[in-house]
Homo-oligomer: 142 residues x 2
DNA sequence: TCAACAGTTTAGAATAATTATAATGTAGTT
DNA sequence: AACTACATTATAATTATTCTAAACTGTTGA
């Protein structure tokens, strides 16, 4: 739970001006107990429900991308028509529920360490993301 | 290396009519030594280069999705503005080169078995996909 | 063989997410 | 206060993909 002043400092420290739009977005994204997953549309809706004056969709895009650049958000690799983001920037993986299109965190304790034996010369590994697609188990219960 | 007749049988066997468009797409996709990755656009371009009369883009979409339904293609989970498909339908993972946007197979021998400890009640695991993002290692060579 | 029908193809329109544009606004500095 | 670079905004543009409805074709069975 950060306060407005802390957001201001954090933004300034990373070279982003603390505008009122960015502060509002910080509040919506980071002023929570738990991390969560969202799409740009989710976020824009969330903001407009909480706010009288609206924030332009372009600003939401700009801000989310800026926050991602600065490492305050992670983009999740899933092939969907829209992009998913995560406020949990720690190293972790995901379940994707194909019935509900819902993302669920899979913490590192829930998965054995992944050891990649192959090496691509001249390249370094930036990230290793596991996506576990799940769906209702009805088939097997017949 | 399959012949035209074999494609016809395969299509019929899975309830798809062997039209000349589908046979051409089969040829482009499956008449090769090695499996490969592609986007719809790649495929459409590839076809139009090899063919005088063109295949409608809608048909390419329809066919790729039909082939995916039947299990002849796999879609790769990567967050990009476009969808990537793979003619290698075996269980395997991918490197994604962020410099070139190129996908590289990571065979199962190249990665230790992934053991998921967490269980989501009432849900079965449909797939486990690992995406390893890589990029040039120049930074470290300074 | 051929008519009938369901499955396919097609061009083009529609949709949806995202990015670009260019004018206006604002934070930070002098 | 004034200047400047960065931000926001509405809107247009772009891009991948899906939809639509008409024309076409593979298959079946008389």
């Amino acid at each position: 739970m950060l306060k407005n002043n802390e957001f201001i400092d954090k933004l300034r420290a990373s070279g982003l001006r603390p505008t009122k739009q960015r502060l509002k977005i910080c509040e919506v994204l980071f002023n929570r107990e738990k991390t969560f997953h969202f799409t740009i549309n989710d976020l824009a809706k969330n903001i407009s429900e909480q706010l009288n004056e609206k924030i332009s969709l372009a600003t939401v895009y700009n801000t989310v991308h800026a926050f991602k650049e600065k490492g305050y958000l992670k983009e999740i690799s899933i092939n969907s028509n829209k992009s998913y983001f995560d406020t949990n920037i720690s190293d972790h993986h995901h379940f994707f529920d194909e019935d509900t299109s819902e993302l669920i965190d899979c913490d590192n304790e829930d998965i054995e360490e992944i050891n990649i034996k192959k090496n691509i010369t001249g390249k370094k590994i930036n990230s290793v993301e596991v996506l576990i697609k799940i769906a209702s188990d009805n088939q097997n219960q017949k």
